[in-house]
Amino acid sequence: MMDMQSIKQLSDALSKKQISSVELTRHFLSSIETHNDQLKAFISVDEDRAIAQATQADKTLSKGNARALTGIPIAHKDLFCTEGLATTCGSKMLANFVPPYDATVVQKLDEVGAVTLGKTNLDEFAMGSSNENSYFGAVRNPWDTNCVPGGSSGGSAAAVAAGLCVAATGTDTGGSIRQPAAFCGITGIKPTYGRVSRLGMIAYASSLDQGGAMARSAEDCAFLLEAMSGFDAADSTSSDRAVEPYSEQLNHDIKGLRIGLPRQYFSADLDAKVRELLHNALHELERLGAVLVDIELKQAELAIPVYYIIAPAEASTNLSRYDGVRYGYRCEAPADLHDLYTRSRSEAFGEEVKKRILVGTYALSSGYYDAYYGQAQKARRLIAEDFQQAFKQVDLIAGPTAPGPAFALGSKTSDPVAMYLEDIYTLAVNLAGLPGLSMPAGFYDHRPIGLQLIGNHFDESRLLAAAHQYQTQTDWHTRKAPVFAGGAL
């Protein structure tokens, strides 16, 4: 039973030749084969590439100069460009797009010898909180296949939760790593804006997008994140600050760690069952030495309106390049240039994408700019200052990742406001550029609930250490979903 093992255990087994990377890779490929029709977690699987990488990893392992991720099968959210492998962004627009380059994240994980199994499903252009907005079909939650896995990194979350890969990359613009991690009972971390290069990561909202790690445990996330992170001269917003060895700092003492509980996140509106589960988790952290402090995040309610102006505004121009001229979808027999643009874009973008392009175009329009985009930028600064005030009192901030557990497919598709409220606890973190993590903290009936931890800029190490130490005392993250690959290797 190696499918529940951690990266550390698998890496150890690979080094000791108890198993080869090729064997491990074949195991996951066959698990995908078995379960992907049901879960739709993967958009594409590249067996040849995976086996070739695993073979190479086995060579590296036999030479004895392997790294922690050498030979470990992972998956990439299908908005990280992969050279020679289709990168669709969950859209009809890019259904046939094969990039001639790798995203920096993909390149970095290749360099440490990780094996890429394939590309995971997502909401089209990362716009969504349920993974129902994918051109390639909705992903199912392995804990309850009638429920959504969360979004937009729903494919990655479901793949990890169902044992179809050891870990996966994700991206988080407003909660797209943390919320699906919470829904699928896994751990996910969105690092500080600028920590992970955005080069080759297809843009949704450039000032908010950030790549991150999704895996069963904080420890596994630490291995993945430290390999993904680092300065990239090709991304002007990337930070040149040295990357800390997260995996080596997991046991840094958390005694005396001050964890802030924002009144606004634990208000009367919060579901009682969720509140109870979170309190239990927080008490466990308290038992480990953390100190819980009540704090205020007065601007918390600004997050949704601000996000839903800034993100669509940036998206509306980021997506202008999909015009049917150079690559991607082009309509049949365009009558003229205008027809080429309108039909290519109308036929290939899904409803949610169109909605956000329209909202964003409106928010940036002359005469509305000051009232919407200009105001939103000011409010964004208030949100960021709000967090800085809080971090004068506390080291980390805790709260729910989402208002409740995974919801049924189709239950919120006709109510955009209800859908947007899914991200009420996660959006502010992106607006402030902070690192945030979600870890499993219990079950709401049979569905997982996540606890969110928020750190100050570049405090990933502290977030991961707190989560790791919690996970040494709890087993939520090792529970198996009903749909799980399983089987002995």
């Binding site: 908005l79 990280f80 460009c81 990168t87 962004c89 890019l94 797009f97 990039p99 001639p100 380059y101 995203a103 955005r198 080069l199 080759g200 990561m201 297809i202 843009a203 909202a205 450039s206 000032s207 001269a233 090709a234 991304d235 002007s236 917003t237 505004a313 940036e314 509306s316 121009t317 997506l319 202008s320 390049r321 015009d323 001229v325 150079r326 690559y327 240039l337 643009y341 175009t361 940036l364 329009s365 002359s366 700019y369 985009y373």
Partner: protein, 482 residues
Amino acid sequence: MSWEVVIGLEVHLQLATESKIFSGSSTRFGAEPNTQASAVDLAMPGMLPVLNEQAVRYAVLFGLGIGAEIGQRSVFDRKNYFYPDLPKGYQISQFEQPIVGRGSFAVTLADGSTKTIGITRAHLEEDAGKSLHDAIPNASGIDLNRAGTPLLEIVSEPDIRSAEEAVAYLKTLHTLVTYLGISDGDMSQGSMRCDINLSLRKPGSTEFGTRTEIKNVNSFRFVERAIASEIERQSDILEEGGVIIQETRLYDAERDETRSMRSKEVANDYRYFPDPDLLPVELSDAYIAEIASTLPELPDAKKARFQAEYGLGEYDASALCDSQALAQFFELTTSRAKDPKLAANWILTDLLGQLNASGVKLQDAPIQPEQLGHLIERIKDNTLSSKMAKQVFEALWQGEAQGNVDQIIEARGLKQVSDSGALEALINEVVANNPEQVAQYQAADDGKRKKLIGFFVGQIMKASKGQANPQLVNQLLNKTLG
């Protein structure tokens, strides 16, 4: 009725960087279509811009060159519109916070007067690609080689009052940017393109009239003609009591008229907003000071120095300082020839004459400062008469004797005879052979003598096969003839 013309110019100056403003692709002109377009230039998914620092340095250098405010914090914005030659669907430009703020420079007009033209701002932006309508049958092609080429858009105040002033402004700007080395200024390759904002108003009025914008005029001559024809068009309308429609127009050189673009593009709402892919550009005082230390001597300062240091007149100094290369040519020539006035004359008349006639560029001319300086030296030491010097100049231009002035003189037997003994013998011979003319000369008054002496000089030059030093011959003749 006469109208006052109000003109403001927007110049798109291509900066002389090796690579594009946001990608590493080459900016070389004339390559095969799309061979200089990278994934960034093609706006492939996930690609990001990275600012070329050289473009920033050039912009700052320009700002310093016109004494403008330097934007210590400037911001790149996205200017959004759809067009096939604009791969991202937006152009990265600077809107609210440009890198160069207010400045000005003086231009000299034909009557010798100067006028200061204000600069509103100058900002960095990327060029678009171009559509190729003839390359593929029944289809349009797109060449993205030019997409992402760095441009500095220089916006003038509406201070210009005539076509003449507009051209003077552009020529001065052209001289300035080539001095600064920030652009090759080659208009034929589109390195300097001009948009003309023009309106008319009643003289004395302080309000501006409705303006039109004439886009993309790319030569001094066309600027002059476009302005003339637009003034005529607008004044015809106004005279008849009509109104000017604010619009974008194009100048058609073949018909010598401007016409409305009537493009949908005009009505665009560009939805400018700060580009989240690029950080604001923050320039420290030290950085600006470091760039300032690289500022070359600028045209006005050089002109003043040429007048003071070399004793040149305003006209010569100005003409030499028209281009940095020419000014340098002059200084190198003078350092050898030690005669600034003679050097200036030779350069401005003979050399420029040859360059203009042949179309050869100064740096490629077969006569370089070394040769011209040497030639002038030989005039000054009386080896050559000015007539002989012209022959040597001609020989040098033809590349004779690998440009060795002394060898040309030797080979052509052009040495001037300045030996008074030898000349006296010739004079005596001519005087002896022409008693009639001698008598005439001696009977004549001073006025007539001046004419008659030419006969003797001519005879002597003929006898010396043109080699006698004419000045010396004159002196000696005066003495001999009494």
